[in-house]
Subunit: 878 residues, 2 copies
Amino acid sequence: MRRPEKYTPVPVRETGVDIINIKGIEDIGYAQQDSILLNALVPEENTHCRQGLYFQDGQRRVDYVLTYHIKKQSSSRRHSSRLTDNAFTRSLRRGRVPPPKGDPEVGAQEHSLHYHEDDKRFCRDEFESSLMEMGLELEKDEHTKTPGVGFVKIHAPWHVLCREAEFMKLKMPTKKVYEVKQGSNLVEKINTFITKLTEPLHPNVEENRIQNVKHLSYPFSREKQHFLLANGVYMAAYPLHDLLYEEWASYSVFYKYQPVGLIRKYFGEKIGLYFAWLGVYTQMLIPASLVGVIVFLYGCATVDDDIPSMEICDKRNNITMCPLCDRACSYWKLITACGTARASHLFDNPATVFFSIFMALWAAMFMEHWKRRQMRLNYIWDLTGFEDEEDHPRAEYEFRVMQKALKKEHKAQKVCKLRNSPKENLVTASICAPQIGVTFAIVFGVIVYRISTTSALYMSSNPTTRSNVRLTVKTTAAIINLVVILILDEVYGAVARWLTILEVPKTDKSFEERLIFKTFILKFVNAFTPIIYIAFFRGRLVGRPGSYLYVFESYRMEECAHGGCLMELCIQLSITMLGKQLIQNNLFEIGIPKLKKLIRYIKSKRRAFQEEEQDKKLQRYETDHFLEPFAGLTPEYMEMIIQFGFVTLFVASFPLAPLFALLNNIIEIRLDAKKFVVELRRPIAARAKDIGIWYNILRGISKVAVIINAFVISFTSDFIPRLVYQYMYSPDGSMHGFVNHTLSYFNVSDFQEGKDPLEPTDLEYKVEICRYKDYREPPWSPTPYEISKEFWTVLAVKLAFVIVFQNVVMLMSDVVDWIIPDIPKDISVQIHKEKILMVELFMKEEQGKMQTLESKDSCNNHSPVPRPRSFPNSHTND
Amino acid sequence: MRRPEKYTPVPVRETGVDIINIKGIEDIGYAQQDSILLNALVPEENTHCRQGLYFQDGQRRVDYVLTYHIKKQSSSRRHSSRLTDNAFTRSLRRGRVPPPKGDPEVGAQEHSLHYHEDDKRFCRDEFESSLMEMGLELEKDEHTKTPGVGFVKIHAPWHVLCREAEFMKLKMPTKKVYEVKQGSNLVEKINTFITKLTEPLHPNVEENRIQNVKHLSYPFSREKQHFLLANGVYMAAYPLHDLLYEEWASYSVFYKYQPVGLIRKYFGEKIGLYFAWLGVYTQMLIPASLVGVIVFLYGCATVDDDIPSMEICDKRNNITMCPLCDRACSYWKLITACGTARASHLFDNPATVFFSIFMALWAAMFMEHWKRRQMRLNYIWDLTGFEDEEDHPRAEYEFRVMQKALKKEHKAQKVCKLRNSPKENLVTASICAPQIGVTFAIVFGVIVYRISTTSALYMSSNPTTRSNVRLTVKTTAAIINLVVILILDEVYGAVARWLTILEVPKTDKSFEERLIFKTFILKFVNAFTPIIYIAFFRGRLVGRPGSYLYVFESYRMEECAHGGCLMELCIQLSITMLGKQLIQNNLFEIGIPKLKKLIRYIKSKRRAFQEEEQDKKLQRYETDHFLEPFAGLTPEYMEMIIQFGFVTLFVASFPLAPLFALLNNIIEIRLDAKKFVVELRRPIAARAKDIGIWYNILRGISKVAVIINAFVISFTSDFIPRLVYQYMYSPDGSMHGFVNHTLSYFNVSDFQEGKDPLEPTDLEYKVEICRYKDYREPPWSPTPYEISKEFWTVLAVKLAFVIVFQNVVMLMSDVVDWIIPDIPKDISVQIHKEKILMVELFMKEEQGKMQTLESKDSCNNHSPVPRPRSFPNSHTND
């Protein structure tokens, strides 16, 4: 079952960073068994492992590793700094030691200050002594096979873990178990049936078996230690890392649920929540894509019954349309738009309206479902009482404060606090705005490209070219857009980070939130501007024959093909979405890390040219040098959020979006899993109760989606004009005559000079009246070409639809939000039960204690509290 | 300073119900000093007091009183039951004793079961013994001067309080204090200045002095007792009750802030939060009413510059209008509407639009401000870590379950759980719906009244009557509406309670929430239906001359006066709002309790006729019998929420609403205060972190307010038609000609038979064409009387305005929500600081302990934990 040779370069436990950020104490339950298992199963590898996993004495485990440079070399400075920064800020602050000047993030500024090697050594010594004061045990190793890098291995003894657990009020399972009742008979039977049915979908992991008993949890307290720390809770059959590799980070298990509990145990709550969220999202995409496919199929099935497109394709309707461009284009027959009209029906039919309402509710359901899932995880992971951890001041910020203080000292001996002055925010805004400006400019550029290419191609004499003009231009323009989006995405990511660093936020959390917000705004604008242009502006600012609108005084604005712009919106959407997913997510995510690893490997090879064999004999903590450091979950979330935007924002025009998203995500989960397990250094386990700012962004997108879909349906699709025609103008209440109704008349003698077609007799008869798509008065009315009453009627109905749609959907979402309780029923029942049991347990103990006290009180003043530290120190004794 | 004779009938402390719902432990800090003060200041009253306040031994305080009937008498059953229900459910459940069958709420069902007196006595004995098992001390008193009522006085000893505090994780101030930093220099100075400025506004209470030190708080733990319970925190100069009476429950301090901390200490967090909320709301009403008054004054100031009303009042504009009713009415001159038109301008001017945007943002600000205040109170009251208390199952529910079980037992010996079956919900819905139907029917009735009276009055020959017709009808109709609303309000309150009792909700909380929700829906519909009718339906379903709409085939639907329906909406609003406030809130709230008290007093007088002197010698806990029991905060909140609805929902039409609300609330606060201090039994202190469901209802109202105001501005006011005229139709861009533009033409020969005026020559000339307010084609167009293009144009603009207004205001509210952090900056800084200090404190102790341990470990195994219970039991020792 164990095949360690398969993934030796992987960090198994030696990056397990569980000391000060106290997760370790929970791991102890199985860490013990784990090491025993190592001994039992792989004795031949054990001696090798022990070298990296334990101190020289072979007893104390290495919980954390710090690295530093012995001589001036610049290869792995960032590594050292990152690790130090996160794990020891707290102990630093508590110990009141100034941060070591060789500290990581500060390191970037280091060159300007020119600290000497001795200074750094002094700082390190001070830092290390403060660590030891906190009770940690250190071991230095400067003579490894990696030249120029010194390692400090850190071990956190049992009593330090206990103390920290108590400070954090970490909830621990107690020895007391209770039975989880399974509800009434019918519900129980259904549950059992579902469990059996989904049995093959669960990962092959012990923890997923449904258990009928649960351990009570209680905040860790050394006084109550005798209750706590139920051993044998975790019955892992073999080490966690291998389990995750086989049952999670593999494409072959794509159809299975994720072992979220194990992910959390190995990577911490924050990453666990990400994967749980991704799982819920993917799961929720299944019904959405099913309905989307049905809606699409409905469109396909009804395409032959659609009266407007039948009318367009009917040869008896001999409608002459006005030219699509000045001079070069001639009049054309409406029947040539037959194909487009039929294709438009696929995405522009009454089912689309239903689908966008469905998706708005789906989004609300998804948010609710996630809240419940999060609550359930909080309960299972014993986070229910956990308050957010304090916000660590960023080293960068502290460094800047210090720097400012030093400067001031020279002048007035006065310390001044560094604040986020409005000036700095202004700078950010003034840099962000041009970024968005760039996006707009590029979109505009693409529009101009499209207009000019179209007219150029129309002028071509090749008839095949001319007939394919529209499709060619659309597709190339969409691809250009995609490429631009991909490039700008990378640029914007860098810009956002740079801007946020400029701002010098005070704490880690505020840094992260500012960065996320900026990145989100830029990337969102980047991804959706071209789409919004097509949905709402294209074809609306055209003018009318005889008085067209011109860009640069020569290019006419684009019109939409007959049948609304929905078709083009759809093409643009699908190309952007698929392209982004395929190229950016998959290619970049797989390709770039592999490339980086290769480069790092080659570099080290060159340096260690003389020690060719080195690689094989490296300690575990040395091999980890060649892995990419963990850079936060932001890119992963961002990718999914933008995808969520594609799925909800314009879903009215592209019902297949959820399906594409689903297919992508099935791969994405395993891809991310592989990345975390194999490609990256094991991240520091961070606690979190929720997904933070991302939840708010999701909510924001869902809200915006409602209004955007309302506008897409009423303004981009032909839904409302059809309705209005059918119920207000149609002589027989059917759709017959709709096409004629939407086309206005134009007298060709009213063309401006020099704008009329060069070849007016292209259609082999003289055209006197041509038609164009708009609601305007005919030439023979008293007010020719004025906007007609029909226009205002349709507009009023469109706007009324937007109001009704928006408010009804918002109301329904609120009702969904209100009906579904945030805390699942069974969880709230269990929490309630646990509370009562806990009180009962302590009451019983209380009474016992009282009796003991009373009986002993007469003799001496012996303490009734069980002696602390009498609990066997299982860690150091093994 | 002390005037105890002034409010002897008031419960000073004997209803202080602080045992099991553990608040008492906090009171101990000053209770000690308090009783000493009693001794020192009023020695002559003390002996009298002690009889009621203490057990017979004069040592142990009475913390809680239970009453029961010795013989069959039905006067104060509910009292006993209420008290028992709330305070002892928990201990009951813990002790696993079945609830005593003589239990309060169950008492209502008691008659049907015919328990014998012996049964009851047995139950009581069982209940009392379980109380004693929990460590409480009891004293019975069956021989009081109140005949037929037995009293059980309960005392909670110190160790019980400690135990319960620990279970509840009650946060206590520790002995450790730290300095609260005052920010930078400038901020500090401003703060000091503001403090000085508002000095006279603060109640004359010790706790309001700004303190520069704060005690650290920590969840109570007997192990850590030596840190905890800082004495002397509360420096009350004289008892809390008197302080509250003088500095809070008095109209003379109406301009001062409320002593919220003291209210909380005396009544518990739940009631404290209500008054804090009321205070914040009233405070926020000040800017709103200021702006409202300015907007109103702007209307007054610009009434002479308003071109449309100038045109109406201009004698040169000789416009003949179509008759307002069939047959009886004749043609009339537009100039007669001059007064109404000018009055309409007061409420229908551009400032109104600004004001409704302002009020929407105001509502958002209010919600935010309250969240912050709540957070601050949570922090000050040490509730930050407090999780919601478990939900007590209702005795009523348990009783029903038992009943069902007993029934089943006869049949199949099987226990079945009582659930809220969908059937029961259906019943509720089917009873609620008719209630709303009744409201609609009554509104319709009032409409018919108005229509019929109008036509009847028009027929009167008295010219003065005829000229005042409109005003008379409007006002009487509004008053009828008000009376109906007032009556239905009481009916609906009772119906909602009855329905909720029928549903038998499982827990207290769900009972309360269901009741609130139902009451809210019914009262809200009741209050706002007539207003919504006037705002959105009146004058819209009129038809046109020659083809009017008729009700009952004879009454024409009402039209609005010229200048929109806004004026009438305004009258209706002001009458409803003022009437509701004056009659319902103040008259009912002051009058009814006084009346009830009088009745109860007379009753007891009659019964105790022979013991005339009894009253003066009654024990404190006996006098409390004659006070009204506390019935929950629901009515108080409900009243304010409906008022909030008036202030926000239709504020576009009535900018003075906030002012009226403000004036009402200034009285309301003191009125409620008086009620709580003097008229009601002291309520059981309940903990709460927030205002619960009310917050959601407030949010809901704010959301609805945005859309309703958007519709009021665009559909009820003339704002949009004016805009459209000015920018689309006006020949010179001014408002001149607007009145003419809004009036359509009607050829009098097109009247239906029998509908034309009886006296067509009333105006002394023959009328051929009359005008009416609508956008329709003139008689000479090809489609006479059809809806014109202008109508659709205006409609489209109106709808567009609604969309823009709604989304812009919602966006702005979200931005307000997002910009203002939920936790005030200084509080989050302090919380962070406290955490660090607490860790430091324990770390220091830790190290000290370790050293002691090490030095002693060599000698013997003495426990390093300080001996528990060594803390002086300040309660029993005084």
